[in-house]
Structures are given as C-alpha cells and as structure tokens.
C-alpha cells in the first residue's frame, strides 16, 4: 500500500467513475457530482506526488488551490443550474440548448 502506483490506480478508477457520471447523467447537479469526483482524483494525484515524488508540501499547496477552485466552480455552476430551472422548469441539461429564451 505504500507505493505511488497504488494511489495512482485509485485515482485513475475515481477519475473514470467521474467521467462515466459526466457522460451518462442528464441532471445538471449529477453532472456536477461527477466533476467533483474528477477533481478529487486529481487531488489524490497531487498529494501522492507530494508524498512519493519528493514534492513535499508544494504538492499539498497545489491540492489546496484545486479545492479553492472547486468551491468557486460549484457555487457558479449551481447558480447557473438554478437559473436554468427557473427559466425552463427542468434541470435536464439536454434541454438547455438555447442561449436565449
């Protein structure tokens, strides 16, 4: 368990699960959950390289920035999804095709 590869494999599985969610889900919020999984897998990679690749704390600082970006992204994306729901009465992202009502 104490090797770089173990963590990279875990994060690869998490990444493909998130990708599967983004591709198959139709609810905007569920797509957002898939994106969160992908961002978490990237964070696991950052911290794994911080631990095993000799990056020390710099890798953890980068993971911190990724978390900050994820928070900002979630807030804006949810505002957009709620706006779509208010205008179209649905959160199905396939039906939100027009830029203007």
């Amino acid at each position: 368990m104490d090797s770089l590869q173990t963590y990279l494999f875990i994060s690869a599985i998490l990444f493909s699960l998130g990708l599967y969610g983004v591709i198959t889900r139709r609810n905007g919020i569920a797509v957002l959950m898939g994106i969160e999984l992908i961002l978490n897998s990237a964070n696991i990679n950052f911290i794994a390289f911080a631990r095993f690749g000799g990056m020390n704390l710099s890798g953890q600082v980068f993971a911190l920035f990724v978390i900050i970006m994820a928070a900002a992204e979630a807030a804006v994306a949810l505002a957009i999804i709620i706006n779509i729901f208010n205008n179209l009465q649905t959160v199905n992202i396939d039906e939100a095709q027009q830029l203007k009502l």
Binding site: M1, L17, T24, E36, G54, Q60, I81
Partner: protein, 162 residues
C-alpha cells in the same frame, strides 16, 4: 491493521463513488458523495497530509456538498415525488470510461516513476502556511480574487430579476 484500514478506506471511497454515478435517487447520490469525500480525506491522512484532510472535510463536506444538496432541494418541486434522474448513453459511457481507465492503468503500470521518499513532516500546517505566504503568494492572492468573483457572479446569476 494498517493494511486493513487502508483497504477499508479504499473500498468505501470507490464503492460510494460508484453509487454516486449509478444511484437512482439524486439525494442518495449526494449522500454517497459524502462517503467518497470522507474516504478521500482518509487517503490524504495515509499520505501524511493531515491538514489537507481537514481542509477536505471542512470545504468539500461542509461547503460544496451542502451547496449541492441545496441545489437538489431548490431544483425539485416538493409535489413531484420523483427526485430521480435518467441516465442516457449507458453503453457509450461504459465504453469511454473503461477505455480511459485501461489507458491510464497501462500508462501508470509502464511508466518508470521517479520515487523519492519524502521525510515525514512533523506538522504540515505551518509548512503550508509558510509556502502560501512566501513562495505561492501570487496564486494565493489570485485565488482570493477568484473567490470574490465567484461570490459576486453566483449572487448576480441566482437573484430574481425585478
């Protein structure tokens, strides 16, 4: 004992991640995401990143997940019982995800990684604080600007038009 805990955390992380993308009810997916984020925080602790594990729990579970649950509540009418969501293109999704996964696994297995075992830090919080205030000061300030922009943008997007 340590191996057992590690296996348990990995199983919780990946199992609940599968439930996130596969669950029928959206709210169940959100609850499964909670366990995934906890599992990832556990993995951080295994990699000596205790401060990052705390940040993960506070920001992801305390912030982003609550925001997502708010979003689920706000975009469903109480009267409509069905908070589920359809999934389309299952076959294509499985195909793409499996091919990406196999590519990544082969790539990770074949690459000769440069492994340098870091020294176990006594505490990570003060080191991260020093890095943020000295080496990564500019990204830190840009991140604060980004958060301010996201705050204003989200408030402007979601307010009702008078």
């Amino acid at each position: 004992m340590e191996d057992l805990a590690f296996g348990l955390i990995v199983a919780i992380t990946l199992g609940s991640a599968f439930m996130v993308v596969q669950g029928k009810q959206l709210l169940y997916s959100a609850i499964a995401l909670l366990f995934t984020l906890f599992g990832v925080a556990g993995l951080y602790i295994f990699m000596w990143a205790d401060f990052m594990a705390g940040v993960q729990i506070v920001i992801y579970i305390g912030g982003i997940l609550v925001l997502l649950i708010f979003g689920i509540m706000l975009t469903n009418k109480i009267t409509s019982v069905n908070i589920s969501h359809t999934s389309l293109q299952r076959g294509a999704g499985v195909l793409v995800a499996l091919s990406v996964l196999s590519f990544l696994v082969v790539m990770i297995g074949r690459t000769p990684w440069l492994e340098k075992t870091a020294l176990e830090p006594a505490q990570t919080a003060d080191g991260i604080g020093m890095l943020l205030m000295m080496e990564y000061l500019l990204p830190f300030e840009v991140a604060s600007l980004l958060l301010l922009g996201a705050l204003i943008g989200a408030a402007m997007l979601s307010r009702s038009v008078d």
